[in-house]
């Protein structure tokens, strides 16, 4: 799943909703007694309730399976083969390496020594591929596998003060 897939899903659902909305708006001059409309709405409500809730329950299972939390990622991606310690401060990143192997499972141990930061990895095309928060006093473990070699950029994605937008670092995957 990429941002493009998400955008398409969003646009399709929005288009469906907009069509329904237009149908309601265009129906206005064609008057029907309130009792009939209410009755039809209640029938529709009854028909939609179960499929809608069932779909969400099924999707919920998938959501957790594909979530980025270590306990799930160890199943979906694999156990970490390489560990990288990441510390952050206003306004910079300290990684204990600047080169990472492709096709190996990497575990980032991310923390902060001052305020909250957001450890976000952007690929060479400028697309966000993974993230976790950097919080003082806690270590967030982000498990990720780089399939594409290239230069990656770390951006801060949690607002941390006036130089937040220049809190950058890079590393290479080969």
């Amino acid at each position: 799943m990429t941002q493009k897939d998400i955008l398409i899903l969003f646009l399709v659902l929005s288009a469906i909703w907009t069509a329904i909305w237009f149908k309601v708006i265009l129906s206005i001059p064609n008057i029907q007694p309130e009792e009939e409309v209410t009755k039809n709405a209640n029938t529709l409500r009854r028909r939609l309730a179960f499929p809608m809730i069932a779909t969400l329950v099924i999707l919920l299972t998938a959501v957790f399976y594909w979530s980025p939390y270590p306990v799930f990622r160890e199943h979906t991606i694999g156990k970490p083969e390489v560990t990288v310690n990441v510390n952050s401060f206003q306004w910079g990143w300290i990684l204990d390496t600047d080169t990472l192997p492709a096709h190996k499972v990497v575990e980032f141990n991310v923390t902060s020594r001052d305020v909250n930061h957001g450890f976000a990895i952007y690929n060479s095309e400028g697309r966000l591929v993974a993230q976790t928060q950097a919080m003082p006093g806690y270590i967030n473990k982000l498990i990720f596998k780089f399939d594409e070699p290239g230069e990656y950029t770390i951006r801060c994605l949690e607002y941390c003060g006036v130089s937040h937008h220049v809190m950058l670092a890079t590393f290479t995957v080969d």
Binding site: F10, L13, L56, E158
Partner: protein, 494 residues
Amino acid sequence: MSDHSIDGPAYGSENRPILRIALVYMLTGFVIFLIMGILGLIMRLDHAGWWVISPNWFYRIMTLHGAGMVASLLMAALGGIIAILNRTVKLSARWLWSAYVVYSLSVPFLLYAVLIGGFSGGWTALDPLPYHGMTWSKSAGVMMYVTFLAVGVGFLIYCVHIFDAVRRKAGGVRRALAWEVIFSRKSNSQPYEPEVAELAAIVTAIIGIVTVIGGVLVLVPLFAEAAGLVKSVNPLYSKNFIMLFGHSIANVTIYIAVALVYGLLPVYTKRGGHTTKFVALAWNFTIILVLTPPPHHLYQDFAQPLGLAIIGQVASWSIAPSVLLLTILGNLSYIYRSGMRWAVPSVMIALGFWGWVFGGIGGTIDSAIPANQLLHNTLWVPAHFHAYYLLGVTTFVWGYLFYLISDLSGVREKASTKIAAWLYGIAGAGFLLVFFFSGADSIPRRYAVHLPEWNLYAAIAVPFVLLTIASLLWIIADMIRGLRGAWRNTGATK
């Protein structure tokens, strides 16, 4: 059965001093909203590369914009509720003025923090940043939290009074929450049916009280830290409670705004206005739907106990079926084939339902944990809540304000102003779509400086923002004609 369900205006005019207070709440909110909108435009101009401002000022403007918008729209929505409740519930001018004064104290505190203290830590003021800002002093950070306190205490005074007033009228909390309607059997032919506005008011008051308690639970330790009584506050704890406070205070605003729609729709459709079982259920669910999703703001804090992420996920997704099947479907059925009379307020209501669901689709997608991994803190997030606000809350609340002023003054709207209302919707939708596309392109939110390849998005957004402002000015030009008359018809008792 309700007394004022369909007939009569969607406000109470007998107690004129109370109606004056409602007008003051709404107009205060409206004026601040307009100023904050200009600040929003400045930020988008900066992103387009057309009016570059220093990061220091960008982030100060961003802080003002966020705090000002959240607080002003909430205040305006609360004003609307006062006007509607005034039909059937005895309210106290002293309580409502007290709430207004305390709430309004937030304005000088915020201005001091940002303009004099240089605070630019964002409206969420996420601990530990306010006390470690590097470019502002700790006292500016404290002043920001005092701003929170003023809004919180003002809101609390309001909520406690509304809760008490509605409970008294109903003769108990269960009756006020329409539980007799929900649990009524056919043999019990006379369940107590509160007005929709009363039900909505007590529900949002309960949410407000819990929200403020959440705020106090984080503000007390943060003030203790500032006073040197404790070394620091656990950042995971403070983040959870700041998000509970911030999310709930923002989220409850749309429900308060929808309560105005329940009052206003019958004026234009001659339908609805009754607390049916579905309406009662929807409002009771709202308490849970507002207060349980805040953990979704911490999905990317992997140190957070997994149980809280699960609660956030399940709660966030519970909103979709509940709101769609109960509130949206219910209100659309009031509009569908109703012969609804088109006027500025009814156009705004129609637009508001579109925007609410549109923003909701974006939010529901983002609240799926794997999607959030790719969207969190990109412009997708402001896209989602700007949809809620711009094409949900503001259309409902300003639609109601327009109606109130027009009806109180007897100055009828110009037929052409409806065009302005539709334009507001079209411009808003364009502005929001650009935000969503920007988020899908991984552009971070809260960035003072955008990369050159990102400028185009903001360049497309700016004309839409200008059109939004122009259409709003058009609406104001019509609304202002009735302002003096409306003002005269409130205030001193007849």
